[in-house]
Symmetry: C2
Subunit: 346 residues, 2 copies
Amino acid sequence: MEETNRTPVWIMRQAGRYLPQYRAIREKYDFLTMCKTPELAAQVTIQPIDLIEVDAAIIFSDILVIPEAMGMHFEMHEGKGPMFHNPIRTREDVKQLKRIDPMKDLVFVMDAISLSKKELNGRVPLIGFSGSPWTLLTYIVEGSGSKNFATVKRMVYDNPALAHEILNKLTEAVADYLSAQIESGVNAIQIFDTWGGILSPGDFEEFSLQYITKIISLIKKKNEPIILFAKGVNYNPLKLASIGADVIGLDWTIEIGKVRNILEGKTALQGNMDPTILYANKERIKKEVIKILKSYGNGGGHIFNLGHGILPDVDPDNAKAMVNFVKKESLFYHKKESSIKGIINV
Amino acid sequence: MEETNRTPVWIMRQAGRYLPQYRAIREKYDFLTMCKTPELAAQVTIQPIDLIEVDAAIIFSDILVIPEAMGMHFEMHEGKGPMFHNPIRTREDVKQLKRIDPMKDLVFVMDAISLSKKELNGRVPLIGFSGSPWTLLTYIVEGSGSKNFATVKRMVYDNPALAHEILNKLTEAVADYLSAQIESGVNAIQIFDTWGGILSPGDFEEFSLQYITKIISLIKKKNEPIILFAKGVNYNPLKLASIGADVIGLDWTIEIGKVRNILEGKTALQGNMDPTILYANKERIKKEVIKILKSYGNGGGHIFNLGHGILPDVDPDNAKAMVNFVKKESLFYHKKESSIKGIINV
């Protein structure tokens, strides 16, 4: 996103169930069919640009297309999440995982990117994404949604060599996949480490961050900005900011201004409104938008977003109101800087 | 817990399903019957003292006995958690909540405390506990387990006055309940704010911390040590340490030594091993115990514990091994201090 006189804004999961226009399509096709049909994926990718007026599109897809392309089968159950037929538990199971050729095995994502780019026609940038190797590992080892992540953590603690073997394979696949997305035209990349926060700090570095670092070093040469969102990992922003990402995404459990102070401009920041604030009335939403803009303070380097995906039962009107509050209220924090600069220059 | 030449250790949920001796009783009685029968509650309270050799007992009970005593009905479903018949959603619903007299309405807890104290016969201290008002609010508003806490957060953002009205009632009940536990003989109190971490920092202060502060000021005069465990609230330990608690409990997502440095002795610390480490082999468990002891460093002020409750499918042998590693390995960090002191004094 370019320098503007206001804070840019988009919403994680903005192409999703809270939009009636999305649900109308979803009624006719199941979730994975939508991911795999470029025309449908592009259509729902564009929806929030027109309907919610966000400043960026993010390609409609699912992080689990990678393990599927590697040879694993799963079904998506509404409200329950994914169910893998043969989760990975042993060294024998690892043989399921083949090396992917994203331009072939995930060509539907690349086609959806090309189509979306064409239909966006330069209106806003398009963001590509992937889950982190660690987050993908939790799904393919647990096999389904989990409360305590007992199975994957048992593997990590009891057989770390096996965990690393799988993480290496996933890292290769994620790097290839993101490179292909960039070649297909995305303008930025977001890496989601949704489950990094369930690890202790040392284990996070060993089982998640080192692999994200490797991916970033592999795709960085392509020069597209990289956003790293490691949910629940707020305890060491300096570490997150040291591995080459251009933007660090924050969940809502930390003050964005505090992180800005710690990072001293090392990276830009994205976030971080509590997604449930969108259940409130518009006045409360406005108050919260201003609170976050004020916490970040004057000047650029902030992409407004929620601190996690938008919830499926949010009123789209509230999402649109949030976007418009950001657009309007953030002018103040950009103007102020220039006016101060103006005064100093006089 | 008194000054010792080693680090004391107990385990959250140590009286629980991972013990075959607990399950043997649980097979005959349902969970709430166990809570409400002082002989059974005392029996399972004592079990881990003999079996796992922890340094403290914690009274076997459930945080939801308070809303039940206030007039709400719920059932406990194994693996699914509690289900309230009439969750609180409106101002009208609040009328359900009557003021409690803990010595009458929760006399079974007080009797379990007296019985446990008698049977412990001074071997180890007995800890009493309660959920925080905010954590209790999440259960009585949601009515059952929740992923996004959409209902309670909708109340907080859309009708904060109603939320505060209920929180005030819960605060009064929790303070009365904890005072009664102290009068009945517990030697320390732990306040569990299991769901404080789902709030943004400002909302945590408004909807959780201010009520915990009030409770502590009300029970503090009784002079029993107070442990505050606010899971997922690691971002501002100084704030947590400023409201009168003697010990701050930490989950496993932060380095305990880092928090010790920030707090500079303002409170003692409890924690903070990842509960899933108990799935690993004993060597790995020992390594992790040492890592945490080393992170905390020399001297007293540390109560070893997990960073959350012990998981029901852990091998009790591993729990016992952890306890023994703490007892043995922590000697080093206490000796070292005295020997350094010895050298300085020479």
